[in-house]
């Protein structure tokens, strides 16, 4: 589906991609310094598919992510302060310091939670789509998950539910080629994860995940189908992560070569590619892009300052939110 993007929208795409990139750059630094605890999974290299997909949604649409989902709420429009404060385990974090890096969520932008049990978000996203449909809203639900997740039973069951009930859901497989150290070729014989869509009677689409516009078009088409009541779509974005599976894994697991990483970085970077197109095809001035860049840098820095200035949660907060507060 061709989407006519305004100049503002194009600028916004770039803005969101670099927001993710810089946000995660900052996170990696903070993690290295020991200021962020726990695991940290970054999406460096995957910003194109994230932003392309999220920008096909409205703010009131739903989204579900996974362990590698710092970028997804940002792509959906979340403010950085609450996200960074969450990474830094502050009271002002989106999850008030309870979730951390693997469990961001910002309900204010429809991000229903990034669950760190691989595959577990897929049925949940189908459920959000069911809710929207039953309530007569024309909202859709977008689920991000990895190539590794496609081997989980939850993938099969969740997608099948969406198919049989023709739910307004989009399942977006972020195929970055690996699950931790394991290449997808070792755990699935099928050429594309999207080929499995046929087994559920729904459309399957493969798209270049390093091309933000291509992803945006593919997801927009799926969103249109979903809003029209025509059911779910399985989309596979071929992409790549530059960094280790998680920060600080300790040692090199040697499952891929430096050349492989370098070739993706140098010739397929979604930000660099889009920047080139902005200049050539969409007639942006270099200065315009620089301005975006500078503003994002400031935003990210601001989020770090905000987070660091925020207090840690009161220890007593450990006992709240297990159950709903009791209303008198």
């Amino acid at each position: 589906m061709k989407v006519n993007l305004s100049k503002d929208e194009l600028a916004e795409m770039m803005r969101r991609m670099i927001r993710i990139r810089y946000f995660e750059d900052a996170a990696v630094e903070l993690h290295k310094n020991g200021e962020i605890r726990g695991s940290l999974h970054t999406s460096h290299g995957q910003e194109g598919e994230i932003v392309g997909a999220c920008m096909a949604l409205r703010l009131d649409d739903y989204m579900v992510g996974n362990h590698r989902s710092h970028g997804h709420p940002i792509g959906k429009g979340a403010k950085l302060r609450g996200l960074m404060a969450e990474l830094l385990a502050r009271e002002t974090g989106v999850c008030r310091g309870k979730g951390g890096s693997m469990h961001l969520a910002d309900f204010s932008v429809g991000s229903l939670g990034e669950t760190s049990i691989v595959g577990s978000g897929i049925p949940v996203a189908a459920g959000a789509a069911l809710g929207a449909k039953m309530q007569g809203l024309d909202r859709v639900s977008l689920c991000f998950f990895g190539d590794g997740a496609a081997q989980e039973g939850a993938f099969h069951e969740g997608i099948n539910f969406a198919a049989i009930w023709q739910l307004p859901a989009i399942f977006l497989c972020e195929n970055n080629g690996y699950a931790v150290s394991t290449p997808i070729s070792k755990t699935a014989l099928v050429e594309n994860i999207a080929d499995r869509a046929a087994g559920y009677g729904i459309p399957g689409v493969v798209v270049d995940g390093q091309d933000v516009i291509a992803v945006h078009e593919a997801v927009s088409a799926a969103v249109q189908r979903a809003r029209a009541g025509e059911g779910p779509t399985l989309i596979e974005a071929k992409t790549y992560r530059y960094l280790d599976h998680a920060a600080n894994m300790g040692r090199d697991l040697k499952y891929r070569t430096d050349e492989e990483i370098e070739s993706w970085r140098s010739s397929k970077d979604p930000i660099a590619r889009f920047q080139a197109r902005m200049l050539q095809d969409f007639k942006f001035e270099a200065s315009e892009i620089e301005a975006i860049d500078a503003a994002v840098k400031e935003d990210v820095a601001d989020s770090v300052t905000f987070a660091k200035d925020s207090p840690f949660p009161d220890p007593a907060e450990a006992w709240t939110d297990v159950y709903a507060p009791i209303v008198a």
Binding site: F107, I117, P123, G131, M134, Q135, A154, F161, T320, A324
Partner: protein, 322 residues
């Protein structure tokens, strides 16, 4: 007042709440055809949108319900037989129990997960579990195990209105048992035990259908002038420990009757609470009457002996008094 069965109580609670709140709906395998009698008339009155047959895909059922709940729906999921919760275990433990917390209170997951417990009928090991204690171990879930139709209706209505996930464990042995049910609406709150019989010599805490065994045992013991107090916790999470401790304070003795396996059971938990907080009141060992820690066999020559029985309860009470 009308005399209604346990199954009718489930059906009526669901029906009334579906009438009251259009966000309530039912999903499960073979719910349309009303396989067990808990959805009588519902397809006609609420239609397929709110009474949804599902594939046999329990993890999907739980996860879909969770997602729907997060955006404002109130799903009731009928898992039919309790071991069919196991394929959904991850969704229950990792998503349903934890989402409110993980996301700092942004999420709520008001689902009701129903499961019946059919044991003692020759369905063998894979179909006969009574697994509520596994779920009690996990914070975030509420758990009800009603012992009669009256309690079932009142608890189920509360469950459906609850802002948190509730698991309802329903003993098939109770399905056709009847209670007088008021015509007017009533709710039974969670975390409030019910003293099914007052007594002074020994406390029996009995869970679910075991309450009836306890009552029968009490009757027998009464003939020997042994006076038994029977506490029905009704909900295991939250658990009304205050009422249990108070009863033990009075009687000094405790027998716990639980149809589950003994190890790490609800009975174990209640015992552990009392042997800490109620220790100085105890005048005798705490006795658990539970199902033998073996699997449930098919043959009638092996199966019935494994479960709690009136005689076992009587013997346990006597032991505390000896």
């Amino acid at each position: 007042m009308a005399s209604k069965t346990f199954l009718q109580a489930i059906r009526d609670a669901q029906y009334e709440e579906m009438q009251r709140d259009s966000n309530v709906f039912i999903m499960g395998e073979d719910v349309e055809c009303n396989m067990f009698g808990t959805t009588t008339g519902m397809i006609d009155d609420f239609g397929r949108d709110r009474v949804r047959d599902t594939p046999i895909a329990e993890a999907g059922m739980a996860g879909v319900a969770a997602g729907a709940a997060m955006v404002g729906m109130r799903p009731i999921v009928d898992f039919t037989i309790a071991p069919f919760l196991y394929p959904a275990f991850d969704q229950i433990m990792s998503i349903i129990a934890k989402s409110r917390y993980l996301y700092g209170g942004q999420a709520k997951v008001p689902v009701v997960l129903r499961a019946n417990m059919i044991y003692g009928n020759g369905n063998a090991a894979q179909h006969s579990d009574r697994p509520y204690s596994m779920f009690m171990h996990m914070p975030g879930l509420k758990i009800m195990v009603p012992s009669n139709a009256y309690d079932m209706k009142g608890l189920m209505k509360s469950a459906i209105r609850d802002e948190d996930p509730v698991m309802s464990f329903e003993d098939v042995a109770l399905w056709s048992t009847k209670s007088e049910i008021p015509d007017e609406e009533y709710l039974i709150p969670f975390g409030v035990a019910d003293i099914k019989q007052k007594g002074k010599d020994c406390t029996i805490v009995a869970i679910g259908a075991m309450v009836n065994l306890a009552l029968a045992a009490a009757e027998e013991l009464a003939k020997e002038n042994i006076s038994v107090e029977i506490v029905d916790p009704r909900t295991l999470a939250p658990l009304d420990t205050a009422t249990i401790l108070e009863s033990v304070k009075k009687t000094g003795r405790l027998v716990i009757v639980d149809a589950a396996f003994s190890r790490c059971s609800a009975a174990s938990e209640i015992s552990a609470i009392v042997s800490d907080e109620g220790f100085w009141d105890l005048r005798a060992p705490i006795v658990r009457v539970t199902t033998a820690d073996t699997h449930i066999p098919f043959s009638s020559s092996m199966e019935p002996q494994l479960y709690p029985s009136k005689d076992k309860v009587v013997a346990a009470v006597r032991r505390t008094l000896s």
